[in-house]
């Protein structure tokens, strides 16, 4: 009976510790460009794509480059490792995940948010009349 309880308790404790540590570690915090710059940590920055600024795909380095204005109106160049995310043009806001390096935001991931993406709205219903 005893060793089983010890093994069981050990498994549970190790599991809980492992889970908590990993959970906290892998939860990337939301912040603005300024705090991301200050902490130098990996961060998630929510903002808006600036259509009129440089937006291009660099096929040599496979990077998608655009400019983003965070919620405190600070503009920064974002370099995403990869291609242009889906729905980029119609996104109402974008969330870039990464860290600030050499004066630009180096993103590993960019999520696009389109609240009415798949739901019909009055604009679409008028189009199908």
């Amino acid at each position: 009976m005893k060793p089983k309880i010890i093994i069981g308790a050990a498994v549970v404790i190790v599991g809980l510790v492992l889970g908590t540590v990993n959970f906290l570690e892998s939860n990337v915090e939301y912040m603005d460009f300024t705090s991301a710059e200050r902490t130098g940590k990996k961060a998630q920055v929510k903002g808006e794509w600036l259509k009129e600024m440089e937006t291009r795909f660099d096929s040599q380095n496979v990077q998608f480059i655009f400019h983003m204005k965070d919620e405190n109106q600070r503009v920064m160049k974002v370099v995403l490792e990869g291609a242009k995310p889906n729905n980029f043009e119609i996104a109402t806001s974008v969330v870039a995940k990464g860290k600030i390096e050499d004066g630009h935001f180096h993103a590993t991931d960019v999520l696009t948010k389109c609240p009415s993406k798949y739901e019909g709205n009055s604009e679409t219903v008028k189009k199908t009349l």
């Binding site: 892998s26 096929s59 043009e89 969330v95 019909g120 009349l129």
Partner: protein, 789 residues
């Protein structure tokens, strides 16, 4: 139109009938009252009949393109082929709830017969009818038969006389001359869903979801009857069946993501995937612990608890993915269903959790607590530990998926966990599970044999070491991966050995061993395909071969496929053998974005996976780009171009602020180097409010009749310091001064996934194992019933 109103009424009847059935079944558990079991049964049958009719009406409306219904308009269109048109039935929330309810109702018909034979009907069916009534309540709230003018009254409902010649008009109120227009075409189905996976994957998953209600109903019935042991046998086939369907659904979903959606792998730890994985893990744990209870009468409470949790996990995952709580943290778009549906989902979850857990706590004193006397080396303990590991995986996945909720509570801002959270937490548990699925089976089997543990361990261990060494030859890896590989191989050989001798004895009993072999093969496939995969991003200029990943890769060009889609043909060559992969890309009106679908070649030993990233148009070498700061000039094309100032002559400030159509210009002075003539020109950016801004080209002819084209590429005004404003322009130079041409370039992400076939072979083996187990358990449940009689 009337048929839709009938549909809505049928759903309400079905809801009430299910609720009445639940009540009557409950009342008739001990005594016969209110017309007895017969009336309860009729009430359930009425609920099923009305629901089936409502579903048939919905299908009819979809097939006949009745776009006066919001649901039909929202998810289908006239250009869909029949199978896809049928699949739009469950493309949205209302329809998928209908499908879930429909499967629940149909399973209920079997369950009446099944539980009546075992004397469980009033107990099982009272709980089950309550579940059905809640699903129906969801449909009463989220009515699939809503009219489109009810959804968009401001846009569609009009008053006054109807102008002649307007099609698709419906008169709503003759007295008040109220009428509405409705669409002639639907919005269509999301292109990501437009493939055959959409036809088969969701129904299978929903059968699994529906089936998970049966073990729950049996567990509650056991608590009601205070009979904590006999429920296991009738409940087990349903548990295994639900588990098999869910498992199949998950695997198909994974293959869908891999083959069509271009996620790069078969598993992305996405909330939608996770939410079907958790109930599956719990059901597998429950299958194992119920097995011990059959043999030794222990784990009575655990089994009831796990059966309850399986269904809770189904409800919780529905809540997570349907209530909009995950909001902005996933690549999936989660539709906000409205507050009423949100609270209803939450209420449903809380209700069934309190019934289950509350009842369990209430009865805990009453339940036999069999002495657990198994030693550390007993098969029971190994199985229990394995089941607990599965529960732990389920808990970790649930916590990870719920991260947006947890972080909202803790930090006030929702954030999702990264993918590596799942890998890091689950890998140690995976090792444990692999080990236990080998050793547990060995201990189990040894009980009926007389060989020593040491002798039966020896051969599988040696073979597992050899396998691990073979994998290590591919390259060094971290210690946890080596352990995972070793124990997976160990489990494979142990189960192969046991499976063989069991099969020789009685083939029908080989299900367990086969399922474990499947899992072990899958685990090995995870290691080879995810840890030893190689990935390269390639820029492929048309017609120019590139060496990569051991292949000669060449982009051949693109060809149109169906409906303005394009297939990009890429030739890959290795050892003189040529293959063509054709990933596709197209612009979708539905998502207003570029859709990309990968393509792959499945070799026996590996997959070559090619995901398209972008196409860079051919460049004729005539276009030059320059960045110019305000007040400075550039040269090099024969023209000296100076950026003088912004040109706001065409800009109306008010419309610009509203995001309507506006144009922003720049004034340039252009000096011709040959003739020293200077001209002023303006270039504009026109923003129409939707989509990308346009930059029209302006022709410029010099004194010597040389033709240039100028165009703005971007504008970067600096609000604080206007002198720091920048623009980028493109100058198209005459043919004679063109530079070297650049061909069309296709950018792809190519990867090689070694032995990924192991994953698919493993999953098929697993499902076959499940199937054999169901056959065996159904027979067993039948035999038990004969004994009772």
């Amino acid at each position: 139109m009337t048929v839709g109103i009938v549909g809505a009424i049928l759903i309400k009847i079905s809801f009430v009938a299910a609720l009445v059935a639940a009540f009557l079944y409950q009342r008739n558990q001990e005594h016969t009252v209110f017309g007895g079991i017969g009336l309860a049964r009729n009430s359930f049958h009425l609920s099923v009949l009305t629901l089936v009719s409502a579903a048939a009406i919905l299908l009819y409306l979809i097939l006949t393109h009745q776009f006066q219904f919001t649901y039909v308009w929202n998810y289908s269109s006239t250009d869909l082929p029949l199978p896809l048109l049928i699949s739009t039935f469950y493309a949205g929330q209302e329809g998928s709830f209908t499908l879930w309810a429909l499967f629940t109702a149909l399973i209920g018909l079997f369950l009446i017969q099944y539980s009546a034979r075992k004397g469980y009907e009033p107990y099982v069916m009272s709980v089950y009818s309550l579940i059905l009534s809640f699903l129906m309540l969801m449909l009463v709230v989220k009515n699939p038969f809503a009219f489109i003018w009810e959804s968009f009254p401001n846009d569609l409902i009009q008053t006054g006389t109807i102008p002649s010649g307007i099609p698709n008009v419906v008169i709503l109120d003759e007295a008040r001359s109220l009428w509405a227009r409705y669409p002639f075409e639907g919005k269509g189905l999301n292109p990501l869903l437009q493939n055959y996976w959409m036809v088969i994957h969701p129904p299978i998953l929903f059968v699994g979801f529906a089936a998970m209600a049966v073990p729950y109903a049996h567990a509650i019935a056991a608590l009601m009857k205070r009979d904590y042991t006999t429920w296991i046998r009738p409940a087990t086939p349903w548990l295994v069946f639900g588990s098999m369907m869910l498992g199949t659904g998950i695997i198909l979903g994974g293959y869908w993501a891999y083959e069509t959606l271009g996620w790069g792998g078969f598993w992305g730890w996405d909330p939608v995937e996770n939410s079907s994985l958790v109930p599956w893990l719990l059901s597998v744990a429950a299958i194992h612990t119920t097995l011990i209870q059959r043999k030794s009468g222990t784990f009575v409470k655990t089994n009831i608890l796990l059966s309850i949790l399986c269904f809770m996990a189904v409800l919780y995952s529905t809540f997570l993915t349907r209530s909009g709580v995950l909001g902005e943290t996933s690549v999936h778009s989660f539709v906000d269903p409205g507050m009423l549906a949100y609270w209803l989902l939450l209420g449903c979850m809380v209700l069934f959790a309190s019934i289950g857990i509350g009842f369990l706590l209430y009865r805990r004193k009453d339940m036999p607590s069999a002495q657990v006397e198994h030693s550390l080396y007993s098969r029971e303990f190994a199985i229990f530990l394995g089941a607990m590991s599965l529960v732990f995986v389920a808990v970790f996945v649930t916590i990870g998926t719920s991260s947006p909720i947890i972080t909202t509570i803790l930090k006030g801002k929702a954030s999702a966990v990264e993918m590596n959270y799942y890998v890091k937490t689950n890998l140690p548990l995976g090792i444990l599970i692999a080990f236990l699925s080998g050793i547990g089976q060995l201990l189990w089997w040894r009980a009926s044999q007389s060989t020593s543990l040491f002798r039966s361990l020896a051969l599988p261990s040696v073979l597992a070491i050899l396998t691990t060494l073979a994998v290590l030859l591919l390259g060094l890896e971290e210690i946890l991966i080596i352990l995972f590989t070793f124990f997976s191989a160990f489990s494979f050989f142990v189960n192969l050995r046991i499976g063989y001798s069991v099969y020789m004895g009685n083939p029908r009993f080989a299900g367990g061993a086969l399922a474990h072999i499947g899992i072990a093969i899958m685990f090995l496939g995870f290691v080879t395909s995810e840890r030893y995969d190689e990935q390269r991003t390639l820029s492929l200029e048309r017609g120019k071969p590139v060496e990569a990943l051991g292949y000669r890769v060449m982009y051949l060009g693109y060809v149109p496929t169906e409906r303005e889609k394009y297939a990009f043909n890429v030739e890959v060559e290795r050892d003189g053998r040529k293959h063509i992969v054709s990933p596709t890309m197209y612009y979708s009106d539905f998502t207003k974005g570029l859709m990309r679908h990968p393509d792959l070649i499945n070799f026996l030993s590996r997959d070559l996976y090619v995901a398209p990233l972008s196409l860079e148009e051919a460049d004729d070498g005539r276009e030059r780009r320059y960045e110019i700061a305000k007040g400075s000039e550039v040269s090099g094309t024969g023209l000296r171009i100076k950026f003088e100032d912004f040109d706001l002559s065409n800009m109306d400030k008010t419309t610009a602020a509203e995001g309507e159509i506006f144009s922003l210009g720049v004034r340039l002075s252009v000096r011709e180097e040959e003739s020293a003539r200077t001209n002023k020109i303006s270039l504009f950016m026109i923003n129409s409010g939707v989509g990308k801004p346009r930059f029209p080209s302006v022709s410029y002819t010099t004194a010597k009749q040389t033709l240039y084209e100028l165009r703005l590429v971007r504008i970067a005004p600096d609000q604080e310091d206007p002198t720091k404003s920048m623009i980028e322009i493109a100058v198209t130079v005459p043919e004679e001064s063109a530079e070297e041409r650049n061909g069309e370039v296709l950018v792809v992400e190519a990867s090689v996934k070694p032995l990924i076939n192991l994953v698919w072979v493993g999953t098929v083996t697993l499902v076959v194992g499940f199937f054999l187990t169901i056959v065996r358990r159904v027979k067993e449940a039948r035999i038990q019933h004969d004994d009772v009689r």
